[in-house]
Structure formats: C-alpha cells, structure tokens
C-alpha cells in the first residue's frame, strides 16, 4: 500500500500535473499493485516447473533435499524454490540492464548534463512507451531516464529481498515478483537504449540503416585489430571517436562480438560484427585481435587467460568486470601502452577516453610485432593434431550441447572434416571439450580449419519502431490480416546449427509476418546466404511492415519491441499508456498477435527479457536449453477455462478458444518451433479474415513440417468463416470427425472484469 507521502513523491517524479494523458491506476507500481493481474494471467498460464537441482544450498540450514513433497529446513517446497530461483535469475538479468543503463546515463550526463533532451527524431513521438506505461512519466531529458532507473533499482531491492530465507513461500507470488522485476527490466533497457541513441546519435526515425560486414572473415588482418566485447558502447564509441580525430579510421580495424558489436555498428558502419557470443572463444583463440576491450555482460570470465595464450592484450573498461587487473585509469597513456606492448600486460581502465587512446596506440604498436602470432590452423595441421585423440569421449560428455565430438575428431584424423565442420556449426563456444582432453587436442583451434571465412551481412540496429509505421500496421495486426509480429531475440546457445534462426526468420518474413530481431539472434540471422549469396537483410525490406525484417538492435533494444506492441494499443487503439499497465497488457494479450522466440537463450538477462514480455501478454517460444531456466507458463487447451469478458456487452463468455495457448514454452526442434510460433500468433480478437490467414500458415506449416492437419485445429476454428478456403474441404471433414461446434467471436475480448482490479471494463474501450 502506498501512503500519502509516497503518492505525493510519485506525483512529483512523474510530473502528474502534465496533461499529456490522465494518470492511470498504477503509477510507479510496487509488487502488490499488479499482483492481481499476474494471478489472473497465471490462472490460465500456470507455472510449470522442471527443477534443475533437487537441493537448496542457499543458507546454512542446508543442503536441503526438496525432492517431491520434502520441504527444506526453512519450510520451503520444491515449487516455491523454483519460483525463487526464477525470481533470482530475473533479478540478475534486470540488474545487468539497470547497471548498464545507470552507467551509460551517468556517463552521458557527465558529458552533456542532466537536461540533455530526448529527441528520437520526427518519426518517434512516443519516445519511451515502457517508461510512460509503467511509471506514468513522459521522459524529456537524460535526468528523467535516471529517475526511471532509480525507481527500478528500488523495486529490485524489494524483490531481491523476498528471496532471502524465510520470506516469500508461494510459487505464484514468486512468479509475480519475477514478472514485476522483468517488467522493470524493459524500463531499464529502454532507458539505456534511448540514452545511447540520443547520447551517441545512433540512427533513429529511419528504417534503412546501413548494411554492415559480419563474420571473422570480414576483418582485414593486415591492419591493427581492436576487438570490443560485451554490451556497453561507452568505450567502443570513444575508440571510434579517437580514430576519427586521429585520421586513423581506415587504418585500424574495429570489430565486435555480442551486443557491443551491434552498438558499435550503429555508431560507425566501418566497424565489423564478428558474430554472436558463441564465437567469442573461437575468435579470441584465432589471435586476430591485437587488443581486446571488454566492457560488461557475457564476456568470457577467462578472457585474459585466453588472450595471453595468443599474445593479445585486454583492457577491462567496466567496474562490473575488473577481472583482478591493475587499474591504470590515472596513469599516463603512453606508459600503459608501453607495458602492454612490451610485457603483454592487461589493465583495468575506467576512463573510457583513456582506454580508447590506449587501445588504439597499443593495437598499432602490437600489430607489426604480432604478425607471426596470427597463423590459423590448416586442415593438414588439424589432421595431425587429431591423431592424438584416443577416443576416450571425455569431450562429448562435458559438451553442453551434447555434440559428437569424439567421432568428429577421429574422422578429422583420417582427413575427413565434414563432421568437425558440423560440430563447429553447432558449437556454443565454451571450450570445455579441450579442458577435459587428456591428450590436449586443440579442438577449438581445429575449428579454424573448417570454419567458413566468408563475409556475411547484417543491418545495423535501428532502435524504436516509428510511430508512423505503427499507424500503418496497427489495424492489420489487430485484425489479424498481418498474421503476426515475430521477434527473434536472445543469445546463441542454439541446440543445432547456428543458422536455424535465419531459416525460421526467413520462413516468417516470406509469409508476410513482421520479423524483428535483436542481440545475437539479429547477428546469426545474417549468417546464412541463399544461392545468389544474399542474406536475409539484403532480401527483405527493413520496414516494420508485412514481410519486413528489422534489426532493432542489441539486447537493450528489446524494449523497443515491447514498446512497439504498447504503441499499437496507444497509437492505433487510442488507449492511454500513462500508468495504465493492466489495460495495455490485456490489450496485447487478447489483440496483438506477437510472439517472441528465444531459440538460444542462455543468460539471466534473457530470462528477465522473456518474463517481461510475458507480463505484457506476449508469448515466448524457447529452445530446448531453456528448460534449464526451470519454469514455463503453460495452459492445457482441452481442460482450462477460456472465459473472458465481452467488453462490449460486459458479459462473461466462455470462448472455448485457447488463444494464445501458452505464455512461455520450450520446444525441441525448429520444426515444432515454427508451428508453435504460427499458433501463438492467434488472438481472440482476430477477424474471420485474419483468422483464416493465421490458420492458413498454421495448417501449411504443420502439414509440411510435422505431417497432416494439426490435431488441435478444432480448438482454433470459431466459425466456418475462419476456415481457409484452400483447405476448406479437408478441414470441414476433420471438424466433423471431432464433433466441432461453433464458438463465439468477440470483437472486444478482455480479462478485465474477470479478476479483482481497480480497472473497469470501460477502460478497455479505446478510440478504435
């Protein structure tokens, strides 16, 4: 409960007196403010737990065995413990983005001042839909973004404290906390990326951002090479600035791995993207980088060890990852460069300007000396190295992706490399195989001999979806005639070949869905060429429109995807955003056919990003590794209650229609993923024409990838008008066999009114 003083504080922070929209029911919410929404959501989409560990070892009572009906010494059961671990993971993920946001905003305020304005160009008026929706504030300056992050950080303290021993003890309440903190993750991501866009002048209000080179083969090894790794572009943009100032931009290669790569290419189209996180160890071991500048998140913890093996030097530039290094922030740059070059010493430099100068100077001095240190392993050398293998299979037993490495190495010893190449295509890049090899077979280095060294293409990230685009596609998305928005997001812990995301993205773009991508998924989408040598970014338009393929940007740019679905409710349906979370989330759940896909999710950040989408009503499909997140949100279409409120008649209606069927589901194969994505884009609000289009894709994909009509098709056909013409006879026969009966079609389906809430059903009626 909020006291009077707190409410006054909130009014002041959000400038409640501004009349851009009326202040909704939940400005700057605490956990209990949206708890009933969560409970309603989780009544249909119940938490499904797959414990990764049967024990709890978080306090000195333990270790406690929580198997089955056992409880820990503190009283916790296995379901609550899973909810607790999920909450902790989401807190970690949110904290990473909040830390990123706090740092970048502080850095930019230092440069430009708190009053530096937020201007995202003439095509983006709803600048921060997440912040508007959750806080109720319309941010105008960097100082406002700082306030948003400070609020989120306070909530983080509350939620994290609930995971202490003897606090929360109910799985659904833990999930509510995870949903809350993950909603705030999107606030922090938005604050981070909007700050970056205005502070670094990243592209905004335009779709056709530059196409940039991608792949380890795109790097000109004859030049000094600086590799940037991580997520925070404060240092990498300083490197570009320094190079420009010194007239060196064409003389030094700047390339990146993971999200810093995406950010840097938003700043300079001369920068190169090496690839996703899974190629970090591979590229570092290749020794191509003279200097590696690490910032934060998803950086190999043994980066300095690996760099030393190939004579590269590391500059750590973030206080979140100091890596035990000597700090040189205050020392003269030339002195530091000398030690780096002569002693191959790594340093922590927290002054980004100095780090940039040191990186460039060190790279230029090191490159000529390291020419001999950059040879790549040839097939002949790989064959020779493979001969040491004794087929103990230790490598494949520790492989997190269960790869058949032993057989591949033995075939390489015979001069047959196809299996080794296939392993590389599926390698997640951890290097555990080498660690356990008693014969010291250099497996990661052997991959150099089979990896493709061609150059791929990626479109530079574009930031927010433009308001003008939303105006154009709002109606077709809500009516269903654009069959869906499919967002491929997250890391590169892929279960199979690295190009599966590209294949799936192309399938949906071809079918005229709107395809958006971020992070490592945005990169790998460009790592597949057709017979004409074109990548998905060169073949499909960059517009947020049917058949468009849009690279939104890095991890923090995920907030622009959640922001886009919010904007559909706001700009198209005229529903106010301001502190109006339940209404907007309800609108998205019931009327916006969007689906997230995190095929290679690995990190805690991916957990909170996905969970934040879930609270907003966007379902997410996950790859098999994500079963280790421990929790999904699943319904059971046959048994569950699909009653909603008919917003126009204000009557409860049993729709008998499981749309969307799940909120968070792990599937095993890309074939099943594609069918599931098509299914999860259906919404109760679909018009018959829209549903026909969506069912056409669902049926067609199911027939092609799984075989036959979908066995649950009868659940998704409401009336005969929903049936695609092309499959009419076949579907009618199927429905007859199933004893199908017509279902109600609602034009204003809503959960508001079906659970305790301050929000009235009238609030869901927008302007359209």
């Amino acid at each position: 409960m909020k006291g009077t003083k707190r409410l006054e504080e909130i009014k002041e922070i959000i400038r409640a007196e501004e009349d851009w929209e009326p202040v909704g029911p939940t400005p700057m919410p605490h956990v209990p403010d949206l708890r009933e929404w969560d409970r309603r959501l989780l009544k249909t989409y119940k938490p499904f737990y797959a414990p990764f560990c049967d024990l709890c070892c978080l306090c000195t009572y333990g270790k406690c065995d929580l198997t089955g009906t056992n409880r820990g010494a503190c009283g916790i059961d296995i379901a609550s413990q899973q909810g607790r671990m999920v909450t902790i993971a989401c807190c970690m993920g949110m904290a990473a983005h909040a830390g990123h946001a706090a740092h970048i905003i502080e850095y930019l305020i230092e440069k430009y001042g708190e009053d530096y304005p937020i201007d995202l160009g003439n095509q983006v008026n709803v600048e921060c839909p997440n912040i508007r929706l959750v806080l109720g504030m319309k941010p105008k300056t960097l100082g406002d973004l700082k306030k948003a992050v400070e609020y989120a950080a306070t909530e983080l303290v509350h939620v994290l404290s609930s995971t202490h021993t003897g606090q929360e003890g109910d799985p659904v309440d833990y999930e509510s906390k995870a949903l809350h903190i993950s909603m705030l993750d999107h606030v922090c991501m938005e604050a981070a990326d909007v700050a970056q866009i205005v502070g670094f002048k990243f592209p905004t209000s335009k779709a056709d951002t530059p196409i940039v080179d991608m792949g380890w083969g795109s790097v000109d090894k004859s030049k000094p090479v600086i590799l940037v790794v991580g997520h925070n572009p404060a240092c990498s943009t300083e490197i570009i600035d320094y190079l420009r100032e010194q007239g060196l931009e064409d003389k030094v290669e700047v390339c990146g791995i993971c999200c810093t790569a995406l950010e840097t290419t938003r700043y300079s189209d001369k920068a190169k993207i090496i690839g996703p996180l899974s190629r970090q160890l591979f590229f570092v071991r290749a020794g191509i980088a003279d200097v590696i500048v690490a910032d934060e998140q998803c950086i190999r913890t043994d980066l300095t060890v690996e760099a030393s093996k190939v004579g590269s030097v590391v500059i750590a530039s973030s206080d979140k990852a100091c890596r035990g290094l000597e700090e040189a922030s205050e020392r003269p740059a030339d002195e530091v460069v000398k030690e780096m070059v002569e002693q191959r010493k790594h340093f922590l430099i927290l002054d980004h300007r100095k780090a940039a100068e040191v990186a460039v100077k060190a790279a230029m001095e090191l490159a000529p000396r390291r020419k001999e240190e950059k040879p790549l392993m040839t097939k002949e050398q790989a064959q020779e190295a493979a001969k040491a293998c004794k087929a103990c299979r230790n490598c494949e037993q520790v492989c997190p992706n269960l790869l058949p490495l032993s057989e591949a190495i033995q075939k390489a010893a015979e001069g047959r490399f196809e299996e080794l190449r296939a392993c590389f295509e599926r390698c997640i890049g951890c290097g555990k195989c080498e660690e356990v090899c008693p014969q010291d077979v250099p497996i990661q280095k052997m991959f150099q001999s089979v990896a493709s060294w061609e150059t791929w293409k990626c479109r530079a990230g574009r930031g927010p979806v433009m308001d003008t685009e939303i105006r154009k596609v709002g109606a077709p998305i809500v009516l269903g005639t654009i069959p869906g928005v499919v967002a491929f997001v997250g890391c590169s812990n892929f279960p199979e070949e690295i190009d599966e995301v590209a294949e799936m993205a192309e399938e949906f773009a071809r079918r005229k869905y709107i395809v958006v991508l971020t992070g490592c998924s945005a990169m790998v989408a460009g790592m597949r060429k057709d017979k004409d040598g074109l990548t998905i970014y060169e073949k499909f338009p960059p517009d947020f429109d049917a058949g468009g393929v849009v690279n939104i940007g890095s991890c923090v740019a995920n907030a622009h995807i959640s922001g886009a679905v919010m904007k559909i409710a706001n700009i198209f349906a005229n529903l106010p955003l301001r502190a109006n979370y339940e209404v907007i989330a309800d609108y998205v759940l019931n009327r916006v056919g969007a689906c997230g896909v995190a095929w290679g999710a690995m990190s805690q950040k991916a957990a909170s990003i996905g969970t934040g989408f879930n609270r907003l009503g966007v379902p997410v499909v996950l790859g098999p590794h994500s079963s280790k997140y421990r929790r999904q949100y699943l319904s059971r279409k046959e048994e569950d209650d699909w009653t909603v409120m008919d917003g126009r008649k204000k009557e409860l209606v049993d729709t008998k229609e499981p749309t969307p069927e799940h909120l968070c589901i792990v599937v095993e194969s890309k074939e099943r993923a594609m069918v599931t994505i098509a299914k999860l884009c259906m919404r109760k609000n679909d018009t018959p024409q829209g549903r026909q289009i969506k069912l056409t894709h669902y049926i067609d994909l199911h027939k092609r990838l799984i075989g036959g009509l979908p066995p649950d098709l009868h659940h998704f056909v409401r009336t005969e008008r929903d049936i695609p013409m092309f499959f009419k006879r076949e579907v009618m026969e199927f429905l007859k066999q199933k004893g199908w009966q017509r279902k109600p079609v609602l034009s204003l389906p809503t959960l508001i009114g079906t659970y305790p809430s301050k929000v009235s059903v009238d609030a869901v009626v927008g302007g359209k």
Binding site: F48, Y49, A50, P51, F52, C53, D54, L55, D65, T67, G68, T69, I78, A79, E396, Q397, V398, C399, P400, L402, P495, P624, H625, S627, K628, Q632, L634, R636, E639, I665, V666, V667, E668, S669, E671, R672, T676, L705, I706, G707, G708, P711
Partner: protein
C-alpha cells in the same frame, strides 16, 4: 549412484533412477503397467543403431507391447511412414504438463498413464522433463530407452557404449514384450 553420460545431467540430489539392462526385467515393468505410454522424441529419427533407426525399434516396442504412442516434435510423419499412427501429438513439455495431472484422462481417454516410456530426446531436455514428473507426478513411473543414463527417471538404461549392446537390449525387449 550411476553417473549420466552427459555431465550436464548430473544429479544434484538423492533420488536417482534405478539402472536396468535386463530386457526381461524391463518387459516385466511394462507388462505390469495398466496404462503405459510411449513418448517418442525427434532424436529417434536420426540416431542409427546398426542398420536401423532408433525410431524403428520404438515402433516395434509400441506394437509388441500394445503401448499407445505420443509423437512429439516432428516425429509424427515418420511414425506414420513406419505404419504406426500415434495416439496423440504434443510437444514434450505439453505431454508432461498433462501427465503430471493425476486426473488427466490420458491419450486414450481412459485415465492417466501409470508408466511412461521415453525415447529419442536430447538428454538434457529429457532429463528436465523427467525432473518435472519425478517431483510433481508421484502417481506415475517413468522409463527411458535411450542409450544414456537419465538420473531423473524411475527406471533408466545404463550408459551403453556399444551399438550392438543397445541393439541387443532393444531387440530383447521387443521379444519379451511379444511373449504373453
């Protein structure tokens, strides 16, 4: 306690699967079940055991034991090609979500299953699914037919290094199931 082949599946707990490698004993457990179910995963379509695919053995087991089948992922088409029309099609987590409800009517509408056999899954995903059932489905038992040890199952084959040993075990199981 046996160790799983893939270290990612190592059990951090106490309740581990019983290793079983005797086809007779495996068949006895299956025959004793009132309502068994076989859940087929996509790896069964690509794993070869000698000249045959793993899925072919699973089809033989289902037929020999008269066991209903749930096809997961994209296995339905291949099962039909092999002459077995699956009784249901779900993805792995969906069928597990049903199985953990003791009131569920099962794939034949006759009541939930009391023994669930699994074959052809990624071991990490399979072990996670089995974890759900170990913790939240005390009303049923599970058995895995892959060549790797699954700690979270009730009954699991041990880690089997040689193809011929696994083949012999599966063929033995088919024969045992055929005998009444």
């Amino acid at each position: 306690m046996a160790l799983p082949y893939h270290k990612v599946n190592v059990l951090t707990g106490f309740k581990a699967a019983a290793e079983m490698k005797d086809p007779k004993a495996l068949a006895k457990v299956i025959k004793k079940a009132q309502r068994p179910l076989l859940v087929v995963g996509p790896k069964a379509l690509s794993i070869k055991i000698g000249e045959k695919l793993f899925v072919e053995y699973l089809v033989e087991i289902a037929k020999a034991g008269n066991i209903p089948v749930c096809a997961t992922a994209h296995t339905k088409g291949k099962l039909e090609e092999l002459g077995l029309v699956p009784d249901s099609t779900y993805d792995i987590m969906e069928i597990i979500n049903h199985l953990k409800d003791p009131e569920w009517k099962g794939v034949k509408g006759e009541g939930n299953h009391d023994l669930v056999l699994f074959g052809g899954f990624r071991t990490d995903l399979g072990n996670q699914g089995l974890s759900t059932l170990k913790h939240f489905a005390p009303h049923l038992r599970t058995m895995t037919l892959c060549r790797f040890y699954y700690p979270n199952a009730t009954f699991s084959l041990p880690n089997i290094r040689k193809d011929e040993d696994w083949k012999a075990l599966l063929e033995g199981l088919v024969e045992e199931l055929k005998t009444s």
